[in-house]
């Protein structure tokens, strides 16, 4: 049994003695400060170590309840959050789109107010409408965590991607990051762009023209759009392949063969990137569509690490939002312990 755990602190900002930069909700990356992002990543590293413990379950949030409100179907994100809750000892209550009263026409407001009346300590929300988490947060007292809202943001995905990059690259500053796919409709891309550009990464967006509108360049400085994937991958440190959403409504379809021909991430194309480039995918993958098997399973792929890191990020977030005295939103300095607080 390998138990030795040595956590090396990386130089990403948060110092041991710094004040925990409090926030009440996690609605998106855009609304976080760089300090808050660094803090969450720093705290996530501690929970990464716990994933390697023989006993992973903590009692830290024992007695706390977290509502998982999944208005839009999701398997991975829901299981990741549910597992993060379980590992911290929190109970969960699950609301799923197909099983709830949503189909009976109850409004989002009534649904979240009903959930809140069950007195959870946080609500994790996935919804097909952009801004749905903002909507709920503006009307509830309980912390709201956005687990993906429409085509707006998916902040925990960006955090787990950053944690994965940090692991493999040692830093997230000043990297060349290439994102390939339907950027316009991707909340994952938006959150990643907001996060990585904050740390000076140069972001290249690549995909069929109608999926990469020029307005994306206004999201952050240093974003460029490149039409050919071979050009877009040049000198990339990080390559992110997005899922092609075949079920996208209201959009004229692009034939899968066309996408494969021009944009599939193949070993040949990946050779355009730096030799030590890493490959990320938010999952679930369409193998053979946006990504070739050889890349998905190759040595540069971090796709399974992303899944593991998702737990760490979500545990850190839950610990931060639910673990403390969340009713009071003070910016009181954190001194570690009061005088002989616990001994």
């Amino acid at each position: 049994m390998q138990i030795a755990c040595k956590i090396r602190r990386q130089a990403i900002g948060a110092d041991q003695t710094t004040v925990a930069p409090s926030f009440r909700h996690l609605l998106g990356i855009e609304s976080l400060t760089t300090g808050q992002i660094s803090f969450l990543l720093e705290q996530s590293k501690i929970f990464q170590a716990i994933q390697r413990n023989p006993l992973k379950k903590l009692a830290t949030l024992r007695g706390k309840t977290v509502a998982l409100a999944f208005f839009e179907p999701s398997t991975r994100t829901r299981i990741s959050f549910a597992t993060a809750c379980a590992r911290l000892g929190a109970d969960t209550m699950l609301l799923q789109a197909d099983a709830s009263s949503l189909k009976k026409g109850e409004s989002l407001l009534d649904t979240v107010l009903t959930l809140e009346a069950m007195k959870p300590d946080a609500i994790i929300m996935r919804h097909a409408s952009s801004g749905a988490a903002d909507f709920a947060a503006a009307r509830l007292d309980v912390p709201v965590i956005n687990a993906g809202d429409g085509t707006h943001e998916h902040p925990t995905q960006a955090l787990l991607d950053a944690l994965t990059i940090l692991d493999r690259k040692g830093a997230i500053e000043n990297l060349n990051v290439t994102i390939v796919g339907d950027i316009a409709h991707s909340r994952v891309a938006r959150s990643n762009i907001h996060l990585l550009s904050r740390f000076g990464c140069r972001i290249t967006l690549c995909g069929p023209g109608m999926w990469v509108p020029r307005e994306l360049e206004s999201l952050a400085p240093g974003i460029r759009r490149v039409a050919r994937i071979e050009d877009a991958l040049q000198d990339a440190d990080v390559v992110m392949a997005l899922r092609v959403q075949q079920e996208r409504m209201n959009e004229p379809a692009l034939a899968a063969e066309e996408y494969i021909l021009l944009y599939q991430l193949t070993p040949e194309r990946l050779r355009m990137a730096r030799p030590d480039a890493i490959v990320l995918h938010p999952g679930p993958m369409n193998r053979g569509l946006e990504i070739d098997d050889a890349v998905a399973d190759g040595p540069q792929s971090c796709i399974l690490e992303q899944v593991t890191n998702g737990l760490a990020v979500r545990m850190a977030l839950l610990f931060h939002l639910v673990g403390g005295p969340n009713a009071t939103q003070s910016g009181a300095p954190q001194t570690g312990e009061g005088p002989n607080a616990a001994d």
């Binding site: 049994m1 390998q2 138990i3 030795a4 755990c5 040595k6 956590i7 602190r9 041991q16 710094t18 004040v19 925990a20 409090s22 705290q43 590293k45 501690i46 170590a49 716990i50 413990n53 023989p54 006993l55 992973k56 903590l58 009692a59 830290t60 850190a316 610990f319 931060h320 673990g323 403390g324 005295p325 003070s330 009181a332 300095p333 954190q334 001194t335 570690g336 312990e337 009061g338 005088p339 002989n340 607080a341 616990a342 001994d343």
Partner: protein, 194 residues
């Protein structure tokens, strides 16, 4: 409410002598140092553990590994502490299975930190033995926990605070007994830290 210094419990020299004695005791009562390891409890248990290891190296020529433990996740008072909890890393560069562990902390009070620390260690494996070493035992236990190695024992009242200062963190070594005093209007006492 403010806090005033009442008296010094240990000076720098006394602290140093006490730690030397504790290092000897631990080695003597461990029946060999082969599997011995020290676990400093954040924050002030950590420099104390390193100093004990340093003494052991000096007088016994043994290299006793030192780990660092953050017990935040195991605390039972998280929802009542005043601010958002800030996690720090645990750094335990050895396998705890079958180890003879000595938890090192500055003050033993209610026993809740020791309880939390033991829970944390169990999540990492199955140690052979866990003992507790503290610089000061101030009484008022709330759990059936006693230290195997005690630097000094101080009688205290509930309002008093035992403050251990270590040069690695506080720029000086000493142990102070403090007291919480209700504010009076014109009072401006020295050492007000509330």
């Amino acid at each position: 409410m403010h806090i005033v210094e009442k008296r010094q419990v240990l000076s720098a020299e006394e602290m140093d002598r006490t730690l030397q004695r504790l290092a000897h005791e631990i080695v003597e009562k461990s029946g060999g140092t082969g599997s011995l390891a020290l676990i400093g409890v954040r924050r002030r248990g950590v420099p104390l553990a390193h100093r004990l290891a340093h003494s052991m190296r000096a007088f016994a020529g043994v290299e006793v590994p030192v780990g660092t433990l953050d017990i935040t996740l195991y605390r039972d008072d998280l929802s009542t502490v005043g601010a958002q909890p800030l996690l720090q890393s645990s750094e335990i560069p050895f396998i705890v299975d079958d180890r003879d562990l000595v938890l090192v902390d500055d003050v033993l009070y209610t026993g809740r930190t020791a309880r939390a620390a033991m829970n944390a260690l169990f999540d990492l494996g199955r140690p052979m033995r866990i003992r507790l070493c503290v610089l000061v035992d101030r009484g008022h236990r709330e759990l059936p926990i006693e230290a195997s190695f005690v630097g000094t024992t101080v009688q205290t009242s509930a309002s008093e605070i035992v403050e251990v200062q270590v040069r690695e963190i506080d720029k000086q070594d000493r142990v102070m007994l403090m007291d919480r005093v209700a504010d009076r209007v014109q009072d401006s006492p020295p050492g007000n830290r509330s």
